[in-house]
């Protein structure tokens, strides 16, 4: 195995182009598990942890440009105003030590259906920036994931950044697991409201082969939400919203939970998310 340590982003792109099988590593919180447990023996590791660009963020043109290697700790500490739901999700990742290393780019690179960042990215309509020596392209997060561990990223591409639209209303993320820390989501849900456009985004995690959304639930809530006053939903409306979200999931039974439990949990999280978003809306989050 080789250890490739580019000192510039251009060198990193060239290295990935020349060695498409090289596995990019930043925080190592996924990659090192696979190496430590002999699950993977790539021909090369491509260390991106020394490059300045992926570790930077800036607000520009109506969105947050978040470098792929910005750590969860940095997101929690600095970016809650720019990407509230993503910051909530980052806060729910693992433990302080893991949040000090792990990044959104790594979450996207691993493309686990249970990754905590995915529902906020999908719900907010974020874009993933992919770079290679061939050029740069942006893919909507909603189209990025193909299945467990699989995405539209080509072998010679590196994830350079994500572009998260500036918040225009309340956002809520929640996650179900056996404890608060160190937990892989049994199911997770994110709700993003755009008060200006009066639109709704949803993101469903860990309840399908890839992160999902529910266009039906989004259309229902966009029509039902009290955009004037942010009134509490009726119980019937909240239940219907929850049912639509649950229906959009494609869960399986596995070690962390059953498909039936995941659907139930999603319905509950969706109802609560509406209630919480309405409360935030009344408090002026619009």
């Amino acid at each position: 195995m080789e250890f490739l340590s580019p000192s510039t982003w251009e060198e990193a792109l060239a290295a990935k182009s020349g060695r498409p099988e090289a596995v990019p590593i930043t925080g190592g919180t996924d990659v090192m598990v696979e190496l430590n447990f002999d699950r993977r023996r790539p021909g090369a590791l491509l260390d991106l942890s020394r490059l300045p660009e992926p570790a930077q963020w800036r607000a520009e043109g109506g969105h947050l440009r978040l470098g792929a290697a910005v750590t969860y700790t940095a997101i929690v500490e600095h970016l809650a105003g720019h990407a509230p739901a993503l910051a909530q999700a980052a806060r729910s990742v693992a433990s302080p030590q893991i949040r000090n290393r792990g990044s959104v780019g790594g979450n996207l690179g691993s493309a686990s259906p249970a990754g905590d960042c995915h529902p906020p990215l999908v719900a907010a309509g974020a874009e993933v920036e992919l770079a290679s020596v061939r050029g740069v392209r942006r893919v909507p997060a909603r189209e990025f994931y193909l299945g467990p561990g699989s995405s539209v990223r080509e072998a010679d591409e590196l994830i350079s950044a994500v572009l998260v639209p500036a918040p225009a209303g309340p956002q809520q993320f929640s996650k179900i697991g056996t404890r608060n820390a160190m937990v892989i989501a049994v199911a997770s849900f994110c709700l993003v409201l755009d008060a200006g456009a009066r639109t709704v985004g949803t993101g469903i995690g860990s309840a399908g082969p890839r992160p999902l959304r529910s266009p039906e639930a989004e259309a229902f809530l966009a029509a039902e939400f009290d955009w004037e006053g942010g009134a509490e939903p009726s119980e019937a409306a909240a239940r219907h919203f929850g049912a639509l979200v649950a229906a959009a999931a494609e869960p399986i039974d596995d070690v962390r939970g059953t498909a039936a439990y995941r659907r139930h949990a999603l319905a509950v999280m969706a109802r609560r998310a509406w209630v919480w978003c309405a409360a935030d809306y009344r408090k002026g989050a619009r």
């Binding site: 250890f3 590593i25 190592g28 598990v33 030590q97 000090n100």
Partner: protein, 176 residues
């Protein structure tokens, strides 16, 4: 490959490092620093917690080459730093002192990781001029460190004690 970095302020280098090797392996097996413990190898247990450029990380999740040129501080380096504990001339840091005082140790395997992570919590709170962390904050800071013996009560108590000692020391004008 050769990997050189500083450990507890000292220049160190490991030869013949396999590129997929973890920083933890290098510390324990090549540099003779077994304080950081090897348990889960997947970032779940926190027993290999070390400072990497001043930030606490699980050493098992850092590829050795990623540590090249950086500053690593392990549990072995905490005592030398003195700390602002009840016995400033003691060889133990304030957190270590408090763990002993509270009896926050049973089998001891998780202790090095807990001590480093607790040291970081105090560095970010009382040592930075802030208030002593409350129980919720302590529990949150230690959420990635598993102890299978104690039930955590004595550990929380030790961190609380160390925080109080350091807070007093900072108010006295600072032993640090």
């Amino acid at each position: 490959m050769r990997v050189a970095f500083t450990v507890n302020g000292e220049d160190m280098a490991a030869e013949d490092v396999w590129p997929g090797e973890s920083l933890l392996y290098v510390l324990r097996e090549r540099l003779g620093l077994p304080g950081s413990k090897n348990a889960c190898e997947q970032g779940e247990c926190g027993s290999c917690t070390v400072y990497l450029d001043g930030v606490t990380v699980c050493a098992c999740m850092v590829a050795a080459g990623q540590a090249a040129g950086r500053a690593v501080r392990t549990v072995e380096g905490l005592a030398a730093s003195g700390g602002a504990g009840p016995a400033p001339d003691s060889r133990l840091s304030s957190v270590q002192e408090a763990f002993v005082e509270a009896g926050a140790v049973q089998c001891g395997f998780c202790t090095p990781g807990l001590v480093v992570q607790a040291d970081d919590l105090l560095a970010r709170t009382v040592r930075a001029g802030g208030p002593a962390p409350g129980d919720a904050e302590i529990r949150e800071a230690l959420a990635g460190n598993l102890c299978r013996c104690t039930g955590y009560e004595k550990i929380i108590e030790a961190v609380r004690t160390a925080a109080e000692h350091e807070e007093r020391a900072v108010r006295r004008g600072g032993a640090r």
